[in-house]
Amino acid sequence: MPWDEGLVNSLVYDAPSPAEGRVLPYPKAINEALDIALGRDERVFVLGQGVDDPSAMFGCTRGLKEKYGAERVFDTPVAEESMMGVSTGAAMNGMRPVFMHNRPDFILLAFNQLVNHASKMHYMDNGKSTVPMVVWAAIGRGWGSGAQHSQAIQGLLLGVPGLKIVMPSTPHDAKGLLLSAIADDNPVLVFEHRWLMKKDGVVPEAHYAVPLGKGIYRRRGTHLTIAGASHAIELAQQAANKLAPEGIDCEVIDLRTVKPLDQAILEESLARTGRLLVVDTSWMMGGVCAEIGCLAAEKWFHLLKGPVRRIGLPDVPSPAGYALEQFYYPNVERIGAVIREMCR
């Protein structure tokens, strides 16, 4: 499916500065992280539907089976719930699985093993077992994927204790965060976004780790703080750049992990700007946007100069058709309009 052609390529991204690495496509950065992790630690293995097929999970797993063998990089039955449990059980017994999914929608089949088991085994048995497991999926969008193939489910999982949730926005972070996720002793969800898969970026060749739970300023500014992650922060950056000539000076925080959440960077920025816009790739209600908006009202109320705003998806299932998608998904224009309102 050409979900990306035309739609994704039309987005203009910041040109990467090649000082600290090679310019790599996003999936290749993930591929390098997996390669390094498999090479460094024989406990690591990669499983998932089609991870060894010619499509190689958007290219992310290309060549890994050939290099590390069919026992460490393998295809699975179409059976998400059991495979999530198998990954959890293997992780509890000395292995470090990376369980890859084409789409987060399929993880909904495995919520029992993920939420009722993986997230709490360590707690339930008083710290005796650990579940060093990565669950990876690429959020879909566009080309008619529709209600069952486009969902971003970070909001559903945000409240579940014991999980970590990573959402990279650059090839650099995709590699460094994945390496951190694999090295982490907890179940870590890594949600990529399909539209980022077309992005190139500067990626150091060696092993490096981007820490979980640490946000980063993508842009410094004084009028308004935009916080979010993944593709949403991409759009936010573009909107911020567009508004700069109008004299609106936005600060953009890429949270990189939404759980744990970097509250320090949010507070620091809000102390400067006093205005908060939260952006997310998923539904606004009860998810990442809601949590950060509530935090502001709870912890940083006296820093706020005006209402918090959030931009994500409305309380509507994802439509399939192209025209409807245009109305459904936030874009640079809509983000820009809200920023203007907030700074008026």
Binding site: P2, T76, F106, S145, Q148, A323, L324
Partner: protein
């Protein structure tokens, strides 16, 4: 692999001759529609994923021919064939695939969610095995309502890897529900063959172990499919409960999108070529042509009619209006 010709040519059995020609016409129509979708796909007018059924026409046509319009069919992501075989509106289908407001799902579904309640095309799911419990629930409803309604649910062999199918077989057998579980075994899940997915089990016997009648048929042979489906549907209608049918088939094209992707190496090209020799459309044509049920000129007329209907439907779709922003917010909740 069983040979379609070997069996079919020995005669059409007790099958009505006009019915045989009609089965052929339905398969041919699906084939031509699929080919046209494929031909046009690269124009990017159909902004929807596609899962072509070329090579698998006999299963949908054979099974749906055993159903009444009031019976219901449920399908997986690979839904074009079932939709058309069940009598679904071609125009509404193509409008849906062109993301138009007058699509059969108002452009909210796309190609994986073709429905047409008027003819009993009742539901699909883009989630593997997702429609199997829905269909089982429809069968429960039919039984509770004492309705004279049988349900058939189509799914690929990969769906049997999802535990929910085991659950549904148990429940349907337990409640003696009027349902036919129709498994189209094309040996692949996307680009994954059977070997990394299923232990060497026999799917028909696996199903039978849930305490319901189960049988394997040659899915390239529309009459074999029809006969098996007819028996299963009749049993269901009489209150005899569910059945499982494993039909072995082959898809000629890539899992999704246009064209074949065998050259990427996940399956032998020779394998596809061998299956193409058993082609459900052309082999059946030979059978009915040999027995004099159809002539080459008659087929030509048939092809022409299909072409005309199809081109008109494409044009209609292309000329139709897009949904509006207001449409986006409709039907999140049912009101009433």
């Amino acid at each position: 692999m069983r040979n379609y010709e070997g069996k079919g040519i020995q005669g059409l059995g007790a099958h009505d001759q006009a019915f045989c020609v009609e089965l052929f016409r339905r398969m041919l129509r699906i084939r031509r529609v699929e080919e046209e979708i494929e031909r046009r796909y690269h124009q990017d007018q159909m902004k929807t994923p596609i899962h072509l059924v070329i090579g698998q026409e006999a299963t949908a046509v054979g099974c749906c021919a055993a159903l009444r319009p009031t019976d219901l069919a449920y399908s997986s992501h690979r839904t074009h064939g079932v939709y058309l075989a069940k009598g679904g509106d071609l125009r509404a289908m193509l409008s849906e695939m062109h993301c138009r407001a007058n699509g059969c799902a108002g452009s909210r579904g796309g190609s994986m969610h073709l429905i047409d309640f008027d003819v009993g095309m009742a539901g699909t799911s883009a989630i593997v095995a997702g429609s199997v419990p829905l269909a089982t629930g429809a069968a429960l409803a039919a039984k509770m309502q004492r309705a004279d309604r049988v349900i058939a649910v189509f799914f690929g062999e990969a769906a049997t890897e999802e535990g929910v199918v085991s659950e549904c077989l148990n429940f349907a057998a337990l409640k003696k529900l009027p349902i036919v579980f129709f498994c189209e075994n094309n040996f692949y899940s996307v680009q994954s063959p059977m070997a990394p997915r299923q232990a060497p089990r026999e799917l028909d016997r696996w199903a039978a172990a849930h305490a319901l009648p189960s049988q394997r048929v040659d899915g390239m042979n529309v009459l074999d499919v029809f006969d098996a489906a007819k028996a299963a549907v009749a049993r269901a209608r009489k209150g005899g409960g569910p059945s499982f049918i494993e039909a072995r088939v082959y898809r000629y094209r890539a899992h999704g999108g246009a064209g074949d992707d065998s050259k990427t190496g996940y399956r032998p090209i020779a394998e596809r070529e061998a299956w193409e020799k058993l082609d459900p459309v052309e082999c059946f044509y030979k059978v009915i042509a040999k027995t004099g049920l159809i002539s080459d000129p008659a087929r030509k007329t048939m092809e022409q009619e299909i072409q005309e209907e199809m081109q008109e439907a494409f044009e209609h779709a292309l000329a139709s209006a897009d949904p509006t922003e207001a449409d986006l917010y409709r039907h999140v909740y049912a009101v009433g």
